[in-house]
């Protein structure tokens, strides 16, 4: 796969894996309204994944469509960031993941909506409305839980603590990013960091939460080196396609 296809693949994998995780909540959320909103986010992410993976397949031009990419690759070929594959944990942990990721995604798509390559720009422009809403939704919950009860605060702190080590990876630039920028499709993610920090800090302050201490980042997702969690997620997600390789659905 060339760099531009890989760039689309990474975007698709981020959305796909997060959508898959959020789908696990369906029917089990703390309240009916929460169930509805988490499912909404899941649906948006699956929709984005469908577009970006479809684009990756089209650029690759080797006969793989979005489904082939989603359901017929193994762990080492997945290029999502480690953050999105983290387990749901309790509701606070899920919200922490969403909070860190949606603010990143909103900043990313704000820029990508303006890139020269119309295929990327169009998907990002449509998704921007969705992910801005996700960022607001997650921020509201961070504030509610952070500035709620003793228990909710402790859980929110723990949730952020779990996810924080995976935040740096969101902004790491490599050859694929450079090639995508050169091709008029990519965004300089390292330039998003300051604004991301500012948005995160503002919400944390409102939530009466301290920013977690910096720590050594855990990296590897973009190169296919994942956490132990991803293999289990895939074995669940890909079960039917693997058990019945000659079937269509």
């Amino acid at each position: 796969m060339d760099a531009l296809a890989t760039y689309a693949l990474r975007l698709g994998d981020d959305s796909l894996i997060l959508g898959q995780r959020l789908g696990e909540w369906c029917g089990h959320a703390p309240a009916l309204e929460v169930d509805l909103s988490l499912t909404n986010v899941a649906l948006d992410q699956v929709g984005q994944a469908t577009h970006f993976l479809g684009l990756a397949g089209a650029i690759e031009n080797a006969g793989r469509d979005a489904d082939a990419l989603a359901f017929r690759r193994d762990v080492m070929d997945f290029t999502n960031c480690l953050l999105v594959e983290q387990p749901n944990g309790d509701f606070a942990q899920t919200i922490a993941r969403q909070f860190l990721f949606s603010h990143y995604q909103a900043l990313l798509f704000e820029q990508m909506a303006r890139v020269k390559d119309e295929r990327f720009a169009a998907i990002a422009a449509k998704a921007l409305k969705e992910v801005s809403y996700h960022a607001t939704l997650a921020s509201d919950w961070v504030v509610r839980l952070g500035d709620g009860t003793e228990e909710s605060k402790a859980r929110m702190v723990a949730g952020l603590d779990w996810m924080w080590r995976f935040a740096d990876e969101l902004f790491v630039m490599d050859d694929v990013d450079a090639a995508a920028i050169a091709a008029g499709a990519g965004v300089d993610k390292s330039a998003l960091r300051a604004e991301w920090d500012a948005r995160i800090d503002a919400v944390l302050a409102d939530a009466t939460l301290a920013r977690p201490a910096s720590r050594r980042p855990v990296l590897g997702g973009r190169a296919g080196h994942h956490s132990e969690h991803l293999g289990h997620l895939l074995s669940d997600m890909q079960f039917l396609q693997r058990a019945y390789p000659d079937a269509t659905w």
């Binding site: 369906c26 029917g27 009916l32 499912t39 699956v46 469908t50 079937a247």
Partner: protein, 332 residues
């Protein structure tokens, strides 16, 4: 059915100790008979109110518990399109639950009270959701048969006498017919697929057919409250009428995709212009109503777990809202 009386006892007979003004009752009955809508602020007999709360909350609980068997396949949906459709469908069911709880709350019972009644086993939900979803074909079968059966019962309820309930039904019915078509489409695809897929589809029909017929509730001669409910326009057709209608519509759909309805007694009756069909195993039905369905324990365990593990979240939201309200007040 989601709304079938599963209470067992004749609850409508009388509400103990309440003497109601015969003139009010007569006026109420006349309005209902004239197909007028009764609204939350209108006077209504206590028995009508109680029956409605029971029926509507049972309907709402059915929507919510019904999310579980289908939710069981969200993470394993076979492709991105099916995953999105299933997510949207289960989300619709959550929405249905929400409208129905809201509509029921207009009668003076809170959502939390209704939820507690579900978890304690006091309130019922449709028997159908006590059966497991074992293969992907079950997702097709549920949409086709279960949403299909739900529509049979709910279309007439769009003209039910209680206004908020009727209006909730109008929104819900549109979505249920989508679900039915999507489910049938899954089955159609499987039935035209590989041998393994055909087998999956037929096995799902075999397992879901009879429980689907049970959804319409006991035979008419064993439904003590039907007459009263029909007079009150909170039920518009009898259980047997709806069951017959369902069989007549569904059997040709099964034949059209090459699936066999698992009933040796099934036969077109030229004279009646309807299918004759075999006897439902009512013993199984009553056992499932009592909570002895194959996965009844799993369903209630899942609802209880979500409720218990969500308690701190709901509490945090409440406390936070109070804090913010107090801060706003102090700032004024």
């Amino acid at each position: 059915m989601y709304t079938t009386d599963l209470s067992g006892k004749d609850k409508n007979a009388a509400v103990a100790g309440v003497a109601e003004d015969p003139a009010l009752i007569a006026a109420f009955e006349a309005r209902v008979a004239a197909d007028e809508f009764i609204e939350p602020k209108d006077w209504m007999p206590e028995a009508y109110r109680k029956t409605l709360v029971r029926q509507m909350s049972q309907h709402a609980h059915s929507e919510i518990v019904g999310m579980l068997p289908e939710g069981n396949w969200i993470t394993r949906a076979p492709n991105l399109r099916r995953k999105a459709i299933l997510l949207a469908k289960v989300q619709d069911e959550a929405g249905h639950g929400l409208y129905l709880y809201s509509a029921a709350e207009t009668l003076g019972t809170s959502r939390d009270e209704m939820t507690e009644a579900l978890l304690s086993g006091k309130a019922k939900y449709s028997t159908i959701f006590n059966y497991p979803t074992l293969t992907w074909a079950d997702i097709g079968a549920i949409g086709w048969l279960v949403d299909g059966a739900a529509i049979m019962n709910q279309v007439p309820l769009q003209r039910t006498s209680y206004g908020p309930y009727a209006r909730a039904m109008v929104r819900i019915c549109k979505e249920e017919s989508f679900h039915q078509r999507q489910g049938y489409e899954i089955m159609m695809h499987l039935a035209a697929g590989t041998d393994a897929q055909k087998r999956m589809a037929q096995d799902a029909l075999n397992r879901w057919w009879w429980p689907s017929l049970m959804m319409f509730g006991p035979p008419d001669d064993k439904s003590p409250n039907t007459e009263q409910s029909m007079r009150w326009r909170i039920k518009r057709d009898t259980n047997d009428e709806l069951r017959q209608k369902f069989v007549d519509i569904t059997v040709p759909q099964a034949e059209a995709i090459g699936l066999t309805v698992p009933d040796a007694a099934l036969k077109w009756n030229e004279e009646r212009g309807a299918y004759d069909f075999g006897e439902v195993d009512w013993e199984e039905f009553y056992a499932v109503v009592k909570g002895e369905g194959p996965v009844a324990k799993e369903r209630m365990q899942a609802r209880q777990k979500a409720w218990d593990e969500g308690a701190w979240v709901r509490e945090a939201a409440r406390v936070h809202a109070e804090k913010r309200a107090a801060a706003k007040l102090a700032a004024e």
